[in-house]
Symmetry: C2
Subunit: 152 residues, 2 copies
DNA sequence: TATTGTTATACTCTATAACTATA
DNA sequence: TATAGTTATAGAGTATAACAATA
């Protein structure tokens, strides 16, 4: 059941992959620019955005898709800026939970708001269009559907 | 004209942004893994994928969204691996055009194929779904619609 | 023994500034 | 003067391996 009499041919999966590549690049470019506006690198911004709840170093390494040894340095630099702090876990003394400071909460909030205000086109989609986009992205990237709910 | 009697509420723009963040992260995770399988870093893989045509260092810096001074090192390392070479521009002797070697062409081809085969879910979308996804992504990220046609 | 986090190391990516060779 | 590319530098991200503390 074609949608219109003389429809434009659908993009090949390859073309779609190329467009997804451009969208991913545009997203990170935007994210990095917003983070830089707060004196943060991309990884520092991503890390902050993952701290909606306290998380062990190990969990951050998993979510950031990098080795645990890197997280030490990233968290060190965020700690220096007073945006996060390490808290000892009461149940397992090997674990250090990373928590946002009050200033960290504020920064995350501003970053999220600036991210959204830079994506005005996204807000102009109708409800039905957003539903469709969510559904199709969920089909194309099934691993991203069950939300661990990060921002980067 | 709602699509079904008791439809799931549409995602908020914020939820959609979060999902786009996850999709972008998943894409780069995949890209980096494929590149690593060829002994390349993410930036080296991205650079190779931009060389469907010869490009000056300056153009690469633009497309990679980084300072021109970084491209020197990236191209140096790709040159060491015999994947690209610098060619003097006949019209402007300041310009060096970066060209894929034969081995570089092969590597790019394999990387693109492995990228696609890792995105099988993408190929399972119908033509209409691919058309819709292209349209909606184009609306959400207008700057990505006119394709400079990279892969990363 | 296994796991969490850190340290040490080496390499890559990054922006800035200063330099050269062309234009 | 302006532009293309490089070099030097310093900081940040990266994986690997080895280590201490804890489980």
């Amino acid at each position: 059941m074609p949608q219109t009499p003389q429809a434009v041919p659908p993009p090949s999966p390859e073309e779609l992959m190329d467009q997804l590549a451009r969208v991913a690049a545009a997203y990170y470019r935007h994210f990095a620019a917003v983070a830089a506006g707060h004196g943060l690198t991309l990884m520092q911004g991503k890390t902050l955005s993952l701290l909606g709840r306290p998380r062990p170093m190990r969990a951050l390494a998993e979510l950031l898709a990098c080795d645990a040894s890197n997280v030490t340095g990233i968290v060190d630099r965020l700690t220096t800026q007073e945006l996060v702090r390490r808290e000892a876990d009461p149940d397992d003394r090997r674990i250090k939970n990373i928590v946002l400071t009050e200033q960290g909460e504020e920064t995350v909030g501003r970053i999220r708001a600036e991210l959204m205000s830079g994506l005005t086109s996204l807000g102009q989609l109708t409800g039905d269009e957003r539903t469709t986009l969510r559904t199709l992205l969920g089909q194309a990237f099934p691993e991203t559907t069950a939300p661990p709910r990060p921002t980067a």
